[in-house]
Amino acid sequence: MWHRCLLVGTILWLVGTLPAGAFIAYVSNEKSNTVSVIDTDKWAVIKTIKVGQRPRGIEFTRDGKFVLVAVGDDDTIQMIDTGSQEVTDSLPSGPDPELFIQDSAGKILYVANENDNTVTIIDLQKRTRMGDVQVGVEPEGMAISPDGRFLINTSETTNMAHFIDTETRQIVANVLVDSRPRFAEFKRDGSELWVSSEIGGTVSVIDPAKHAVTTKITFDIPGMRKEAIQPVGISITADGKTAFIALGPANRVAVVDVASHHVIKYLLVGQRVWHTAFTPDEKWLLVTNGISNDVSVIDVAALKVIKTIQVGELPWGITIAKQ
């Protein structure tokens, strides 16, 4: 008798302590000037927030209280309160902000100002501009080394990844990559920096200590002309084993075995896939399909696309945090 009670009790306890499962994804819609909010339990948009003009880069603050979204044509970064899901404040980002990144403490924000060849540095707590760094032509990609010592910025027309010392704010190295670098991502252990070259069609793997490209990941899709394969967003699992690369107008996400730097699979998603984000448990990868105006959901373990969610026009960036 008491075995059954124990069993039921254990089951109830397990159910009670199982995580709620739902995460919230915020997607910036570049053309409709909105942010779509997706609930990962329902796999549906639960709210559409009106923001400023041309929203692109989008990211949760480290404390999860705000979602920052760069509204480039308004020359500012807006702060969406995650409680009320409304825009409550804005940051002095410098002109035409596109992508940005926070330091690990969530105190400093580094912003790429695409029109100005600058990276602007902002104090997130005081909400003031602290300084800037002159970089190459059309800065976009932003990454911070896991040890926090280096900020990486890629410039699209200069075709470089600039290594900036976060303390001195000086550029200490420049690494030439293939044409039109868009995105930079570190492996979680800091041993590799990956930079996607949209027009060059490759992803450069850079040794961050030597400041040199050690290998280039190339893509080959049967029947598809090479020019249409344009890598942009990159997401690498925390265990450093698998990477997902959005291939733009190839309409596919490449699954890459990190150890060998080879593509193991191509997943067909929507049109012009650009940016990617894992759910915090890395069970799902969500990707934005700019031309088909939707978000694809990829089951990471099964390597299958399981769902497509309609969002606003020209979905661009995506950020996910716990509900």
């Binding site: 190459g136 032509v137 699209e156 027309t157 200069t158 030439l176 044409s179 027009i199 069609g201």
Partner: protein, 395 residues
């Protein structure tokens, strides 16, 4: 011990001085432009005084932003020909100033004379302005790289779209000048190549006269319908009028309610101020900020030429002419120019492969090559004269 100490100090001093920034490597680019500019029928299309040159100036700035990180510095030497002045002499003047690369906006004959005048001095011309096919065919030169598209590329780009649209019956009106006839020839070739049919051709004779008179449109709106009446059934009127004599008068004035293409209406161009795809807004903004006006196709052709040199310089990390040229002509060279794919040089005649925009003066209507036109090597080679057909023999 003292020796060690002294050695250390000397060593550190040497380190100190070598750490001081070396003078940047200088790369000079020339810009040689023709004396006049052809006036257009439309007031809003009149070329600016710095048409083309403005694009090169922006590219020099962009090259220098990149050059900061590579210790390279680019300068532009501008030379505008006066009426009657000889381009070849001007080019030799630039050569004397140790300029290794000259962006040229010259008519075909002047371009050839100039290329031949400086070929022995290792100078390469970048043709940013002349669209004549013969410059890439029987008159090709090893020291001329073509950035401007050819007439045949422009005609093919238009034809592909019209065929895609199923507007296959063309009524062609041709001007009476040589370049108009060349354009008509390219359009006939394109029609045959892609499956359109020219149902009738008419000639518009240039009888001179002032372009703008006080009576304005009153006479024109009566003349154009008469010019275009009683044509066999057609889908679109294609006008070959590079001389800017009549085509701009045709839209909305044809006898039959039909769209116009070619030299007016839907026009094929390498670039347009309305182009906003593939990150082009960034390009347009930078140009507007520097030059206080909108960007033209010639501006973009000049920008691309200067950027090709900058791109090569950053890849080979050198200013040596031979090294740069070898890289430019090699298999690894490509340049990104805001048209959604990398641009490469056709190895057989040094013509830059490129998508062509179809524009209506306000918007980009389409971009060729159109989906469905396939090619073994590059779909961009469905535009213009392809390798198996070429009459160019570069030795």
């Amino acid at each position: 011990m003292i020796r060690l100490f002294v050695g250390l100090v000397v060593g550190l001093c040497a380190l100190g001085t070598s750490a001081a920034a070396a003078d940047p490597v200088e790369i000079g680019i020339g810009y040689l432009r023709r004396a006049g500019a052809k006036p257009t029928l439309s007031l809003v299309e009149q070329p600016a005084a710095d048409d083309g040159l403005a694009g090169a100036r922006l590219a020099i700035e962009d090259n220098n932003t990149t050059g900061k990180f590579l210790n390279q510095h680019f300068t532009l030497e501008e030379l505008r020909l006066k009426a009657g002045e000889d381009a070849a002499t001007a080019a030799r003047t630039l050569a004397d100033r140790n300029i290794g690369f000259i962006i040229a906006d010259l008519p075909a004959d002047a371009l050839l004379k100039t290329a031949d005048a400086v070929s022995d001095r290792g100078i390469v011309l970048f043709n940013a302005g002349a669209i004549d096919d013969r410059l890439r065919e029987e008159d090709c030169r090893t020291n001329v790289i073509h950035v401007a598209p050819t007439r045949s590329m422009l005609a093919d780009a238009l034809a592909q779209y019209l065929v895609w649209k199923q507007w296959k019956r063309w009524f062609m009106v041709v001007g009476s000048h040589d370049e108009d006839k060349s354009y008509a020839q390219a359009l006939r070739r394109a029609a045959s190549r892609f499956g359109a049919k020219i149902v009738q051709e008419r000639v518009f004779e240039d009888t001179g006269g002032a372009r703008r008179t006080d009576s304005g449109v009153t006479l024109i709106q009566r003349q154009m319908p008469v010019l275009t009446q009683q044509a066999p059934a057609y889908d679109i009127l294609v006008a070959a009028d590079e001389s800017e004599v009549f085509a701009a008068y045709l839209p909305y004035r044809t006898w039959d309610p039909r769209p116009v293409a070619g030299s007016a209406g839907l026009v094929p161009k390498s670039w347009d101020a309305a182009q906003d795809q593939w990150g082009a807004v960034q390009m347009q903004n930078r140009f507007l900020k520097l030059n206080s006006r909108h960007m033209t196709a010639l501006d973009m052709q000049a920008w691309t030429a200067a950027r090709m040199i900058g791109e090569a310089a950053s890849r080979v990390n050198s200013a040596d002419r031979r090294t740069l040229l070898e890289f430019l002509k090699g298999p690894d060279f490509s340049v990104a120019a805001f048209k959604g794919q990398r641009l490469t040089l056709r190895p057989w005649n040094l013509q830059l492969r490129q998508p062509i925009l179809l524009v209506d003066g306000r918007m980009v209507v389409s971009v060729s090559p159109q989906e469905g036109f396939l090619h073994q090597v590059s779909e961009l080679d469905t535009l213009g004269v392809d390798q198996p057909e070429t009459r160019c023999k570069l030795h």
